[in-house]
């Protein structure tokens, strides 16, 4: 699973979304979503609050079944595959939920150790070392024995991140990783994401509103527009800022100031 990063030019698709329609009951959120997330990309999902970004993420990680359309991982359609294949696909994902979603009955160390215990047969001592390392990576060294209820919202976010990275997954999904973090920590997080993507070739899918982060890390993106209920732009965010013909996209990327700075 830990492929080196040899072929960066000839990009391989990691996730292909075809004709995806998302709905809650009869309430259709988005339809006709078509995009490809390439291996090693840092892929940004953009859009206003409540437009369905978190929901799209849930579809991408196999938590919600598409109303229509397919999601392919290496040409395997998640929802047409058997349970074993689904299992092995999930094993390659690491997910940071919008609310952190730490298991409240476990300490931070136990939270991060959980995936390791589940999927590896490492001895407990090594798991402990790995856990401490992952927690230190997100600036939470020393908080191993704390329970989620004893730390702040931003710290929960970071602990969730450590858990998402526990198994060194192929694809990392982040739902608003920097919400609730101060600018410096947010910046460190961006650096960490770039580091992960460059050193291990990890594919990263990020839902975020932070423009600074979008431009700093994004190599590809989609923009969801709730008014027309579909994606209205796709591509490198820096290019979108310069070239997108859609005023809504430009507006979003310039914080509503409309004009592109040259």
């Amino acid at each position: 699973m830990s492929e080196p990063m040899e072929d960066k030019s000839g990009k391989e698709p990691a996730i292909v979304v075809k004709g995806l329609e998302m709905s809650y009951g009869s309430f259709v959120l988005m339809r006709d979503l078509n995009f490809t997330i390439d291996r090693g990309d840092i892929f940004i999902i953009m859009g206003g609050s409540g437009c369905g970004k978190s929901t799209l993420l849930k579809h991408l990680v196999g938590l919600k079944r598409p109303a229509k359309g397919q999601i392919l991982y290496d040409d395997v359609s998640y929802w047409d595959a058997g349970p074993e294949v689904q299992e092995s696909l999930k094993r390659r994902f690491g997910i940071l939920f919008q609310s952190g979603a730490l298991w409240s009955s476990m300490t931070l160390a136990e939270n991060v150790a959980m995936p390791l215990e589940q999927y590896t047969s490492l001895p407990p001592a090594q798991i402990r070392e790995l856990v401490s390392f992952k927690l230190a990576l997100v600036g939470l060294g020393g908080f191993e024995e704390f329970y989620p209820s004893e730390i702040s919202g931003g710290m929960k976010k970071r602990a969730g991140l450590a858990r998402a990275m526990a198994l060194d997954p192929d694809i990392l999904f982040f739902d608003e990783p920097s919400a609730g973090l101060d600018p410096i920590s947010a910046r460190l997080l961006d650096d960490l994401i770039i580091e992960l993507s460059e050193s291990r070739g990890t594919t990263v899918v990020v839902v975020t509103h932070e423009l600074a982060s979008i431009f700093a890390i994004g190599t590809n993106s989609v923009f969801l527009d709730p008014d027309v209920k579909t994606m209205t732009a796709a591509g490198d965010p820096k290019r979108l800022l310069k070239e997108s013909p859609d005023p809504k996209v430009v507006n979003f990327l310039t914080r509503g100031e409309g004009a592109r700075q040259q």
Partner: protein, 373 residues
């Protein structure tokens, strides 16, 4: 300070609404309809004058919103350039053009027959969910018997402690009292025949065969079933269950199984304890009120209560343990994502639990009747 005032004047192309004084929350917001009546008609323009406007807050904004709404309805142009810049900005933010288009919640009201069909389908779906859940719980249990289920032993131990040892005080109190009540009721009747000693039979058989199990079942449903529902419901709200699923862990194995096991073990034990407490309660009444001797009461109880009754009682409580755990966990897993949904899950876990207990008692009692035990 002057209170709020407004005055409407005709101009050549419409009307001018002059706002003056202090517009602050505290008194009623003027109704918009009368304000414009007659002064301005479709196609004309409404302007504003605010030279004498004092301090203002949401009261002014809501009043203006209503006026704007009337104008939009009647096709009157609004020229808001006369309003203070702050007011203009806030009105712009709240204007309908700035809200999400096409937001519907459940859509328009459906015709009666459609609603009936929807609700019938909803019931059916709810029933399927229950069956699915029970199936999943059974599979998890079988998996555990083969030693393959994924759950933390620590969770099991903690749950056993919470559902067992910590429930002892309330079980003691309730079963002691129920034993005493049974004894009182029986004593009044039996005293008429001078057959007080048979109070021991009534209390002993009643408690051991069914009442001990039912009382613990109901206590545990209120205490533990509700707690299970609230715990799992909160985990649902915090996306903790999603997080488990994405790790490939089955929430049923990981969360439901230890809770079910804990109650399967602890419920019969609590039931035995409740039986003893009930008999003790009966004895207190018998010795204290009916002048029976302790040894006499004990001997009579011992003779009355067959071992079969004891096993029947235990069987009841074993079944109740499963029912309470399943209804608590089911309601928790079905919980939606809000605080009120967690409250609803807890309530409905207790209701489901108690209904299941009563129905199960009926079925077991009838079966015993048929089998002649």
């Amino acid at each position: 300070m002057a209170t709020s005032e407004f005055k409407i004047d005709k101009t050549q192309d419409g009307a001018l609404l002059a706002l003056a004084g202090e517009w602050k929350l505290g008194s009623a917001i003027p109704a918009p309809d009368g304000v414009l009546a007659g002064a301005v008609v479709k196609g004309q323009r409404l302007a504003f004058e605010t030279g004498n406007l004092g301090e203002w807050d949401s009261r002014l904004l809501v009043f203006l919103a209503k006026i704007f709404e009337v104008c939009r309805r009647d096709g009157i142009d609004v020229d808001d350039s006369g309003l203070p810049a702050g007011v203009r900005k806030l009105m712009h933010l709240a204007s309908p053009e700035n809200q999400r288009s096409g937001v519907t919640h459940g859509g328009a009201r459906q015709p009666f027959l459609v609603r009936v069909a929807d609700s019938a389908l909803g019931q059916f779906k709810g029933f399927r969910e229950v069956v699915d859940f029970i199936g999943a719980a059974m599979l998890a249990f079988l998996k555990m018997l083969r030693g393959k289920a994924d759950f933390r032993r620590l969770d099991l131990i903690v749950t056993i402690q919470e559902t067992g040892a910590q429930a002892l005080p309330i079980v003691t109190l309730i079963s002691l009292l129920v034993g005493m009540i049974l004894a009182f009721v029986a004593a009044i009747q039996l005293k008429m025949f001078g057959a007080q000693i048979y109070v021991a039979d009534v209390v002993g058989i009643g408690m051991v065969r069914v009442m001990g199990a039912i009382m613990t079942g109901i206590i545990m449903s209120g205490r533990t079933g509700a707690a299970f529902a609230a715990q799992l419901g909160t985990m649902q709200v915090n996306e903790e269950i999603d997080a488990l699923e994405t790790l490939g862990l089955s929430p049923v194995e990981f969360l439901v199984l230890p809770r079910m096991l804990a109650l399967m073990v602890m419920m019969p034990l609590l039931c035995v304890y409740a039986d003893l407490m009930g008999v003790l309660g009966g004895m207190i009444v018998g010795v204290g009120m009916l002048d029976l001797g302790v040894a006499e009461y004990y001997q009579q109880s011992k003779a009355a209560v067959h071992l079969t009754y004891f096993w029947i009682g235990l069987f009841h409580s074993f079944v109740f343990g499963i029912l309470v755990a399943i209804s608590g966990c089911l309601r928790g897993m079905q919980c939606e994502r809000s605080a009120s949904a967690v409250g609803y899950a807890a309530t409905s876990a207790v209701v489901t639990g108690i209904v299941c207990i009563v129905v199960a008692t009926l079925i077991i009692t009838l079966s015993c009747q048929v089998l002649g035990i």
